[in-house]
Amino acid sequence: MIYRSHVLVCGGTGCTSSKSMEIIKLMNELLRENNIENEVKVIHTGCFGLCEKGPIVVVYPEGATYSRVTLEDVKEIVEEHLVKGRIVKRLLLGDKDAEDVSKALEEVGFFKHQVRIALRNCGVINPENIEEYIARDGYRALGKVLTEMTPEQVIDVMKRSGLRGRGGAGFPTGLKWEFAAKAKGDQKYVCCNADEGDPGAFMDRSILEGDPHTVLEAMAIAGYAIGANQGYIYVRAEYPIAVNRLRVAIDQAREYGLLGKNIFGTDFSFDIDLRLGAGAFVCGEETALMTSIEGKRGEPRPRPPFPANKGLWQKPTILNNVETYANIPEIILKGPEWFASIGTEKSKGTKVFAVGGKIMNTGLVEIPMGTTIRQMIYDIGGGIPNGKKFKAVQTGGPSGGCIPAHLIDTPIDYDNLIALGSMMGSGGFIVMDEDTCMVDIAKFFLGFTVDESCGKCPPCRIGTKRMYEILDRITKGQGEDGDIEKLELLAKNISSSALCGLGQTAPNPILSTLRYFRDEYEAHIYEKRCPAGVCKELLRYVIDENKCKGCSLCARKCPVNAISGEVKKPYHIDAGKCIKCGACIESCKFGAISKMA
């Protein structure tokens, strides 16, 4: 069926939670009411990336992109744009008066600097329709590999492309495949790590939601390269939309004969099954993930033996991350030289980042490796809200670290981030402004690791807990001389003795904040002061006698009666009773109350 217009509505998790499914339903009703249901087709897609401005609705062929569409706006879009052809300017993203609305969008900084390889189909196709994926060259790479290339040639292409694992450590993908291909075994497996767990990172979810077939295709290519006939996708049950779309995609791929026996008429057979994880962070670690697929408690085991030799059920196995797979069909079709021409010397291609925190354009962006932190924050991210100053960016999640403002011109790639004491990780990019306390941030990430430690090895189970206790004391004003040194010693010992990546990298948030913000730790410990004004126990609320008019409003608002005074004379706060809730600051009309660090 050919339509004159397509309306693409974002069906990613972010937009779904702001009612994009209801928007689709209402729009279909209104199209019927206006008798144009045979002219206009409504399609749900994956994430467009600009989650901050969601729900996003794009009308083609004009390419008009509407942002923050509410149910109330749908009627106007249908009656004005779809019936009469008048673009609803007030909802447009970008220059509202542009002559050509689709060009206007390209000029929006958020999109202008992006290079979309892994996200190439997200927001462009209907993820639940295999034919739309095929229309965008889907499964052609698999066809090419099976009919024209030997497994050795596939591995050679992967090696020459320079693709490195996008899940964290950045191990060269081609090399990983070569080890597994050379390993002896009657049965081999291809696994996909979709156990995305870093706080704030959601690129894998978006790829699975927006373009699930690209992962299936790449896994089949990997299967051919190493000689495996079975794949498993380990995805967390907390991603219901992604799980559902994967199920639909696998069924469709089987129906079209793109999974199953004798694909493309060759003797290569490959199938994929899903395994749902319960959401333990440690199951993103490769050995723990495989143990969990086997139906056992998700705990890591020592390496070697590496999975390439003894992985799932003791058979040679490769495990790649979702985003890594999403690059592979394009590399096969466009060639390794094309891919290697993007990025920096040792980090090729692009990386998807989940940009969050104190930044205007929260969302998902894909940038060439080598883009600087400054470009990310100001050109793409739109800068820091409320005129605040940029202080640091946290990358790599709980295994990563904080990069301070003076290093803002650093080009982002694997090696630069490691050199700065952080890491690429899965691509979390959390921006912090001057109101962020770095000791508190380190405590937050360490708290996450303490919760998620599986408990198998003592350095991680006990060591991170001890570090957390020290940080907790420091933020409460009970820090002692020698605490910093204790933290450093513990960090060194945990890094060198923990069983798996989770424990080995757990001290990173502390080490990197100590490296760049040691003065903040010292202020907490020696001066009992939190320079950013975050740590509650170290704050004092005071009333400025010159500004206070003695209206008594704050005293009436205070839930613990800590404020007293005589009407029309300056009031006072009893620090002993004050619980630092902030109710008085909000109530004061004269700005007389402030927090003292």
């Binding site: 083609y60 739309e132 499964y139």
Partner: protein, 121 residues
């Protein structure tokens, strides 16, 4: 899936369906769809454009709508705008004329003079 040719056949069919989401370097047919245009019969004209273009497998043309162009007495009106900005304005259209414009102008590159605004005036 038995062969690359089979995949290619699905690709071509599917590409036709999603083709309108790509509007780079394409000729646009802009149909006036304000109250005046709709009353004069612009909707069947627009549908005829879409239908004929698809029947003849034309991939590099998108059909879009616009509001009132200003000469309501000449509706239904459609403008053909090429990628390099050359504009031809057709007036007093009906579905048959639209189909002819597709064949003559959009496929063979010869504007249908007798339907243009300069002829009508």
């Amino acid at each position: 899936m038995k062969s690359l040719a089979e995949l290619e056949a699905i690709r071509e069919k599917a590409l036709k369906e999603i083709n309108l989401r790509d509007n780079t370097g394409k000729t646009r047919v802009v149909v006036g769809m304000a109250t005046c245009g709709i009353a004069a019969g612009a909707r069947p004209v627009m549908n005829a454009f879409v239908d004929e273009l698809n029947k003849r497998n034309v991939q590099n043309v998108n059909v879009t709508m616009t509001g009132c162009i200003g000469v309501c007495r000449l509706e239904p009106i459609a403008e053909v705008i090429t990628a390099d900005g050359v504009k031809t304005t057709y007036v007093k259209l009906d579905p048959e004329k639209a189909r002819k414009i597709v064949v003559e102008h959009l496929i063979n590159g010869r504007p249908v003079k007798e339907y243009t605004i300069s002829e009508a005036e």
